[in-house]
Subunit: 293 residues, 2 copies
């Protein structure tokens, strides 16, 4: 049981976490802090948080557990602000989609509180953002990856793990660098690729004509292009090296495809499409069916 939980950034992820923990009675009081006053007041009215803090410092004062649920670019500033006021036994965690940069910020700013910081990343999201999109089931059946450091306090790690398990999530651990490499490929790249297609078409004179006829394939391919721009700018910059490598690999693969189409090489194209289609079906069978959506 967490007597006082501080959520810094009460958006889709922070709000859903608060709702999930409240439902299972794993938390007594949730204090929220965030930049958007309207969003925070909505969170209070909807019972997502019990109290509203005007500063990060007042949010974490007296909190047993504090969760940083802001875009990763805002983590260093927040850590700097709260480090001096965190209780010595308070546990701190984050939900950032990149881990090496968040770990570096923690090392730079948390000082003696570093050992009780547990870097984390719930693999859950939606194209909607803000507390209005939050729901208690967001993490049910999803993965949460923790990337503890060699000196991370095992009790702090246990506590954060228990928090996510209480939300119905499955908790895994891996090193920050491996995390960032994997998610550059399976998450950060597809997001940028979806944003790129949307931007390409939206910038055309005939954009309306194109959009008018786009169907369900386009809808699903571009769903994640509706995601929070600031959050994704921060992720792209934070995971820059891995993401640039993924963009290069993807562009190279698209160029191969382009050459096959231009040359009318039906046989090689058929091989490529067959490999991809088979891989997609295998993935669906192995991974998607195990996870509630």
């Amino acid at each position: 049981m967490i007597r006082r939980l501080a959520i810094l950034g009460v958006g889709l992820i922070g709000g859903s976490l608060a709702l999930a923990l409240k439902r299972t009675a794993l938390v007594e009081t949730v204090v929220g802090y965030g930049r958007g006053r309207d969003n925070l007041e909505l969170a209070l009215r909807q019972g997502v948080i019990d109290a509203l803090a005007d500063t990060p410092e007042t949010a974490v004062a007296g909190a047993e557990l504090a969760v940083l649920a802001v875009p990763v670019g805002s983590m260093p500033w927040l850590m700097q602000r709260i480090a001096p006021v965190l209780a010595p036994d308070a546990v701190l965690t984050d939900v950032g989609s990149t881990k090496q940069d968040v770990v570096a910020a923690a090392e730079a700013h948390l000082g003696p509180r570093l050992a009780r910081f547990v870097p984390g990343h719930p693999i859950a999201g939606a194209e909607a953002s803000g507390v209005a999109a939050a729901h208690a089931d967001l993490f049910r059946g999803k993965e949460v990856i923790l990337t503890p450091l060699p000196h991370t306090d095992p009790l702090a790690l246990e506590r954060v793990q228990a928090m996510w398990q209480g939300c119905g999530a499955q908790v895994l651990r891996m090193p920050p660098a491996l995390h960032d490499r994997i998610f550059a490929a399976v998450s950060h790249l597809p997001h940028l690729a979806a944003f790129a297609l949307m931007d390409e078409l939206a910038g055309r004179d005939e954009a309306e004509l194109y959009f008018r006829h786009a169907g369900s394939g386009f809808r699903d391919f571009t769903r994640i292009a509706g995601s929070h721009p600031e959050m994704w700018r921060d992720i792209a910059l934070a995971n820059r090296a891995a993401l640039v490598a993924e963009l290069d690999a993807y562009i190279a693969r698209l160029r191969v495809m382009r050459e096959l189409v231009a040359a009318g090489d039906g046989e090689a194209l058929m091989q490529l499409l067959t490999r991809a289609s088979r891989a997609r079906r295998l993935w669906t069978q192995h991974w998607v069916q195990d996870r509630p959506k």
Copy 2:
């Protein structure tokens, strides 16, 4: 009322069309022809078709309306086979995802039957293929685009339009070249881009590790990579010029993004992501809400 309907290619689209027309009692007897004997026999057992033809010729003999629902690369061959046996007043249509190549095939092979050929394209699909995936509601609320030629018989056009309206679809008309340009951008390109990502990751030594952690964003982005390889090879080759232009534009846009990320240009990246995200939200509001899924 269509007394005898011939479906050549009883897959997702052909099978769903048969089911939709049977439900509304717009058709008396459906004769099916296709390459896969197992699939055809399943269609017969499930009542999707009433009779099974061993050749395209026997399928269309005596049919008032014949629908070509095969990958576009197989259209020329099929047209050549059936042209001599089509009744003079029979109406012929197709469901191909590209229209200029199908029109060219019709002009080359249909001879005196050309005036009663109505080129069409229902904007509906799924990553599943085969008659097992067919359902009577596939076209409800969806668009069907007809691309009649100057000399297309107005009565044939009316008949095909009525058929699709009977399935709950909304019928539009446009020239074949415009059709192919629009769908290169909003359908053919996203399909190849999804196939490309799947193929890129599946080819890696650590593919399983990547796929293991892919979440719902990846799932939706790659859904269409599960589509029928032969169908998409044919589409890519049939709409080659427009698709190569779209691939070039997309690759160029990805390169811009790659440069912004590599340079750490957060401001320009934020502008791009904001434009894309806003365009996606507008599209959702304007178009998706009007359409039953």
